[in-house]
Amino acid sequence: MEEVKLMKGNEAIAHAAIRYGMDAYFGYPITPQSEVLETLEAEMPWETTGMVVLQAESEVAAINMVYGGAASGKAVMTSSSSPGVSLKQEGISYIAASEIPALIVNVMRGGPGLGTIQPSQADYFQATKGGGHGDYHLIILSPATVQEMADFVGLGMDLAFKWRNPVMILADGVVGQMMEKVVLPPFRPRRTDEEIRQQCPWAANGRHGRDHRNVVTSLEMDPERMEVNNNRLQDTYRKITEAEVRYEEKFTDDAEYLIVAFGSVARICLKAIEEMREQGIKVGLLRPITLWPFPTKEIERLSKQVKGILTVELNAGQMIEDVKLAVEGRVPVYHYGRMGGIVPAPAEIEESLKSHFLNV
């Protein structure tokens, strides 16, 4: 029988990581995600699965530990919140450029600067457009429930290995901090070093009989060869875009209006949609689960069906740009957002949609 537990999203991340067979977690405390590191330290997985847990001296060090672990073929992760994730961007760029797998969790708080410890979705641009220097993409998973916080740890690490590309779980502070029912994934053993050597023939983990040395690097001084590397990355991104788009649709079959929202906000929007449907207003919801690759084709399809689209975000309007690129001007697209750590009530969303589309 499934064991249902009650816990915070951040705690679910930690438990899911141990159960996945994660080899290491490297982190640095920052609100509102410190429970990830705290839970791991309390669980002492090094005594059970052999998982390494290390509190680094900074987010910069933590992400570079992730880079080292990933370069050696291990399943490694880190977590942080917005200001800390800004510091991690250097390492994330190197990890993406070196084509190695890693999992990064960002439990977003409000910015810019030190901002606030309250929830936000203001790191959408940073996460989906690259974040650090150079042309690259992360696969971005957006959880809306504590269950998805747990599930996306395994999914994210699997995708990272499948594509040899870093994956980010981009959660808002609401999903990190709220407690909910969750069914944790089953325990699975960590891979042995022998399995890692077979699965990751590229990894720098000692030659151990290999007839050549492995070098994990993002450096290439020859422009012709560097462009080949760049093109190989772009080719991977095209394949990911074709294969890995994930989203959820609700009430879209007969929808005349569409709300696009991600993370916890999508759940608030669903409440607003249910209330509007009781009033006879046919509103549907599209919740992107992967923010990159973005469900462009699905929004394009729906834009040929509905009269207008509202995006709702905990920011000044970031995802709306990708929605507009998908809609290509077919119907009007508006944004409703709250900032500063304020989470909108369903009535605000209802009011915004009505004011834009129903002249109410």
Binding site: D23, A24, F26, V52, L54, A56, E57, S58, V60, A61, A62, N64, M65, V66, Y67, G68, G69, A71, S72, K74, V76, E90, G91, Y94, S98, D193, A204, N205, G206, R207, H208, G209, R213, N214, V215, V216, T217, S218, L219
Partner: protein, 255 residues
């Protein structure tokens, strides 16, 4: 006649270490990096750990170190080598992990990573080349640049009031409980080369025995950056560098 025919085996006193690749290095004539690379390659081979050694290359002149020593390597971001080495060492405790870093990498941008890896007593070897200048980027001031020393960013000489003082980072590292061996060596004479090799061997043996962090600083030269001939650079090194950075062991914890 081939080289093999000219050099009779019984007369051979030196050969390229087996672990050095045939790649032509990008180092300038007279630079100490080539000697230290050779010593690291010899020590790894002599200890028989080439199959389980992972190197972490820095950003700086040794950025291409992975082209020259035939072990697995990870290329670090500037200054982050000790963090990367920490992860690999913790995840493969039976492997031997070393970083190879310059003064800017280790004692400026990577100060935090260096001090905290050493303070945690990670079982790694840190090979630290101190030539008091940023060679790769064209000869700018390093944290270890001497007072009065001219560089591209201290064209009239380093001034304490403007640029602060040269940092003796190895002395700081020797204070940390996590370090088992901190030594400062040089390679500008054959005798010193032999001493440096012995120091490197001790450092790698410490890592094999999981005794904590070992740091081998090599006070070196930069003929191109210092704008001197190799010979003059070594004279200047002996006269000025070893005065500020005296050679010898700073810490050697016995079993």
């Amino acid at each position: 006649m081939t080289v093999e025919e000219i050099i009779k085996p019984e007369n051979k006193v030196y050969a390229r270490p087996e672990l050095l690749t045939k790649n032509i290095t990008h180092y300038c004539p007279g630079c100490g990096h080539g000697v230290v690379h050779r010593l690291v390659a010899e020590v790894i081979k002599e200890l028989g750990i080439e199959e389980k050694t992972v190197g972490v290359a820095p950003v700086g002149c040794a950025v291409f170190a992975y082209n020259y020593i035939d072990v697995d390597w990870v290329e670090a971001a500037h200054g982050r080598a000790p963090a990367i080495a920490t992860a690999i060492s913790r995840l493969y405790p039976e492997d031997v992990v070393f970083t190879y870093q310059g003064d800017g990498d280790l004692a400026a941008i990577g100060t935090a990573e260096t001090i905290h890896a050493a303070n945690r007593g990670e079982n790694i070897v840190i090979v630290f080349i101190n030539n008091a200048i940023y060679g790769m980027t064209g000869g700018q001031m390093a944290p270890t640049t001497l007072l009065g020393q001219k560089t591209a960013t201290t064209p009239y000489g380093r001034r304490a009031d403007l640029n602060g003082f040269p940092i003796k980072i190895s002395d700081i590292l020797a204070q940390l409980d996590g370090t088992c061996y901190v030594t400062r060596q040089a390679v500008y004479t054959p005798g010193l080369v032999r001493k440096t090799k012995a120091a490197l061997k001790k450092a790698f043996q410490n890592a094999m025995a999981k005794r904590g962090t070992s740091i081998v600083e090599v006070v070196s030269n930069c003929p191109s950056g210092w704008k001197m001939t190799p010979e003059k650079a070594n004279e200047w090194l002996k006269e000025h560098m070893t005065e500020k950075y005296p050679l010898g062991d700073l810490k050697d914890v016995k079993e």
